[in-house]
Amino acid sequence: MDTDSPRLRLSILFVVVAACFVVLFGRLWYLQVMAAPALAESAEQTRIQEVFIEAPRGRIIDVKGRVIVDNRTSLIVTIDRKKFKSDFKSSKQDELLAKLADMLTANGAPTKVSTLKARLDDQRYSDFQQVPVATDVTDEVIHTIAERNDEFPTMSYERKTVRVYPYGAAAGNILGYTGRITAELKDKLVTANDPDGIPKTYQINSTIGLAGIEKQYEQYLRGTPGVERIEFDSKGRRVRVAEYQEPKAGSDVQLHIDMDVQLRAEQALSERLAVLRNTPQRDGAIRRAPAGSMVALDPQTGGVIALATYPTYDPREFINGLSQERYDQLQNVNGVSALIDRSISGAYAPGSTFKLVTAVAAMNNGLITRVDSLYDPGFYEVGNPPQRFTNAGEQVNGMVDVIRGLSISSDVFFYWLGARMDGTTLIQDTAASFGFDKATGIDLPNESPGYVLTPAEKRELVRKYPESYQDGNWYTGDNVQLAIGQNVIVVTPLQLARAYAAFANGGTLYKPHVAWRILRPDTDLNQPIRSSDVLETFQPEVVGTISMSPETRDAIAAGLAGATVGAGTAASAFGGWDMNAFPVAGKTGTAQVVNRADTSLFGAWAPFTNPRIAIAAVMEESGFGAEAAGAAVRRTLEVVANQRLTDAADAPTVGNKD
């Protein structure tokens, strides 16, 4: 073949040219057909920016349909700090801020330039965020900024929904609070879907529940953020809104909480503690009485009717973030923290309120019957050499059976039962069936579990923490102390209330539940709630049963009913109470605490038959059960019973102590 022939060489050229075009067509096909979907999506990311609009959170509603947490729109003036600082010299910056301050002042929000400056430099906002410098401004302010943007450069505004609390600080410990999401939190979150199946995504500025119900029911309360997909050109100019999706409010959460009872419980606690701090008690001492809590449950469902704690915080303070100074203040109110919900995480020796459990353990296991009695000389001795345990003040009670033992709270009677059950774990096992062995599983964060030690656990403790516990032996004295709820046992007020609730309803242990049901967003609360408005109902959850014969239950119930009347330990708290109309059964407790004044406790339920409420109060360093906790409970029950015969605080202090 003649490789020098021009014709052949032209043919080669033809092949090369043809090959070039084939390659180009092939690549074109690949880009516009095969790879097109993926590449087109990345093209969209290049030119479209998504701006999210935070949706209002769902409301929180009480059992009677009253709104406890609502939303309102707040108009906020913001400044693009980065642009503001880079675009203007500091003299011009001052001039612009002065102009803004004048304009705000003229529109009814007196503002100083120094305030604006301080807010602008708030380090909680990054340079990429719009920094809010004035909140809750009027529509006129917003219009001025929007229309005269040349006079207010780099300034803008936002419409934000913020939480409002029609009941003020009430129930703050239950409701919790919301705050700005952190990057760390955002990474860990699982995104929930709204009722229409749209994911409720989180953005860098999203608000999230950080405590209480706001945290626990975040997945329902969070709204579905709206999205504005804005198309930009390469010079960063906004060309058009390619897509707009309206934000949707979150679902409403309705609680078992009854705000009437809740408000009264909080009031009863704080008032009673204040009285205790100001008046000498029977023994002449003035109590520090720094803290207390109260839990009210529905014995038939485990629904939480009230959950009060003192001291507490105002969730409104958290709306725009809490200063470190204020945070430190809340950490130390009269020497205790206001940020702890003592009703679910306080840990206390139950004292005589635990005698309920000891009595059930003894009767269930045939140690005593309803008629067995013991002579109570005011003290009880165990061991050799004898170790002496006494009633408070070595009070001599004479012949005591289980009913009288509970009503007048004879320690000796229960020391005797405790000694007889030594060598077994009968008390611990019964305590476990009352739910004292672990956390209740309430739908609130940060619950404490408490403990009831067994001999094996005590040994284990000493082995594990030799510095704190020296003696790992279990003595009869330990069992004797356990029988009256001291020394080797710690419970939460919630556990105590639930134990009384379970006994009251005949032995069914429910998991306590604050939330009742989830309602469709923006449900009309002025109408009766229709079933179509209910998205989900949390059914009562049985987690255990207390086995006891009717004879056992009747005897013990009679003993507890006797405590609130006559010579009963709580009779003083219920002075003037109409026990026929609304019979209350309960048990006082005065628990000793090392190096501190006694804890005052009271556990109860009412009405005696067909109970509607089980309630427990625990007040730190507050002295005798009846005078502090009993009185506060009585005050709270007034709302439920619709009774107000005399003021519990003024009731005469008579009868037996503890």
Binding site: T3, D4, P6, R7, R9, L10, I12, L13, F14, V16, V17, C20, F21, V23, L24, F25, R27, L28, W29, L31, Q32, V33, A35, A36, A38, L39, A40, S42, A43, T46, R47, E231, F232, D233, S234, K235, R237, V239
Partner: protein, 377 residues
């Protein structure tokens, strides 16, 4: 293949009937050229008017003027018998060389390259014209050799090509030099260079490319641009990524004129020149860009066919040079936009915005029409 000498043919035929050539004008080439120029004008407008009013009409008007100007030059280059142009080949070559030297001294520096004369509202890029003048000079030489190119003659051709290339390297303008290199290669291959010599040339070329890429002869940014299509993560790959996204965004039917978000929102840089194909591909889709590529294929085929039909060596070689210029410009420019060729700023002839490149391309088409029309003369 070419029995007649140029001089005898020209004297005999043209004297007989001067009007006859117009009857043999290539209608397909005219049609493809007109269509591409028109699509070019529309695409340039779409790529430069902006997304939001007030729209920018500057580029549109200028490109229309360039096409008119180019059409005038095309007519001139088509009407005057190419065998007369043969005698002017060295004049063009010399004049362009002078312009190339002058631009190094008097030219305006843009983006680090001194490639333009700035004459008020218009800029002239003499390197574009050097493509044509090199084609003319090489066609003159190689047609004289009549297919007998020994080593010395080959070196003569290479030297003729090397002079403008060396000056252009001083601007620097790598893209145009690549075009000149490909033109030279195609012309010496068809002009009769020995296979042995071509093999040596090939080896030298490979060594040169590798050497240049690894030496400090190129600035870092130039090296990055050349290798970006292999490694799409570098900063230099930004343009290519935007371009490929835009092409993909066109899909099969395209987004419609002025509705190409990537193009009309100006996300693809240099889209009226280096990335003009991208603008067309996004707005007109696979269907439209296939028509564009098809028109270019038709254009190249007609040029190749004219090279075959040409009456003499000079005509054939002119067409081969023009073909090489177009094919490389298309393959490099479109290939770059689609991410399979290195980034070098080579205009897509007939479509890219720009006076010098448009006039050069239309003049080149004029030459081919000329050769075609006089194939029987």
């Amino acid at each position: 293949m070419f029995p007649r000498s140029i001089s005898s043919a020209s004297s005999r035929r043209s004297a007989r009937n001067a009007a006859e050539p117009l009857r043999h004008i290539d209608p397909w080439l005219v049609m493809a050229t007109a269509a591409l120029s028109l699509i070019g004008i529309i695409t340039v407008y779409s790529a430069t008017r902006g997304a939001i009013p007030p729209y920018n009409n500057n580029f549109l008007f200028r490109q229309i003027i360039f096409v008119f100007l180019g059409t005038g030059v095309l007519t001139l280059f088509a009407i005057v018998d190419y065998r007369k142009l043969h005698d002017w080949a060295w004049f063009f070559y010399g004049a362009t060389t002078v312009l190339l030297v002058l631009v190094l001294v008097l030219g305006t520096e843009v983006n680090g390259a001194r490639s333009w004369f700035s004459l008020g509202f218009i800029q002239i890029q003499p390197a574009e014209f050097s493509k044509l003048s090199l084609i003319g000079a090489l066609a003159f030489l190689l047609s004289d050799f009549r297919g007998d190119v020994d080593g010395r003659r080959l070196l003569t051709c290479l030297a003729v090509a090397a002079i403008p290339m060396a000056i252009i390297m001083g601007q620097p303008d790598l893209g145009t030099n690549l075009v000149l290199g490909v033109i030279t290669l195609a012309m010496v291959v068809v002009g009769g260079a020995k296979a042995k010599h071509l093999a040596i040339l090939g080896v030298v070329a490979v060594i040169a490319v590798v050497g240049v890429l690894n030496s400090s002869a190129l600035a870092e940014y130039q090296r990055n641009r050349l290798t970006a299509f292999v490694d799409p993560t570098t900063q230099s790959a930004y343009n290519i990524n935007r371009s490929q996204e835009a092409i993909a965004n066109g899909g099969i039917t395209g987004t419609g004129l002025f509705d190409g978000p990537q193009t009309n929102l100006d996300w693809v840089p240099e889209q009226q020149t280096d990335f003009i194909f991208t603008a067309a591909a996004e707005q007109f889709g696979l269907l439209g860009s296939s028509i564009v590529l098809g028109l270019y294929a038709l254009l190249c085929y007609r040029i190749w066919r004219t090279a075959q039909l040409a009456r003499d060596w000079f005509g054939t070689l002119l067409c081969v040079g023009v073909l090489a210029m177009f094919v490389f410009s298309i393959f490099q420019n479109v290939g770059m936009a689609m991410g399979i060729m290195p980034i070098t700023g080579i205009p897509l002839h007939l479509m890219s915005y720009g006076g010098s490149s448009t006039v050069t391309a239309l003049a080149a088409i004029g030459l081919v029409l000329n050769v075609h029309a006089r194939r029987f003369l």
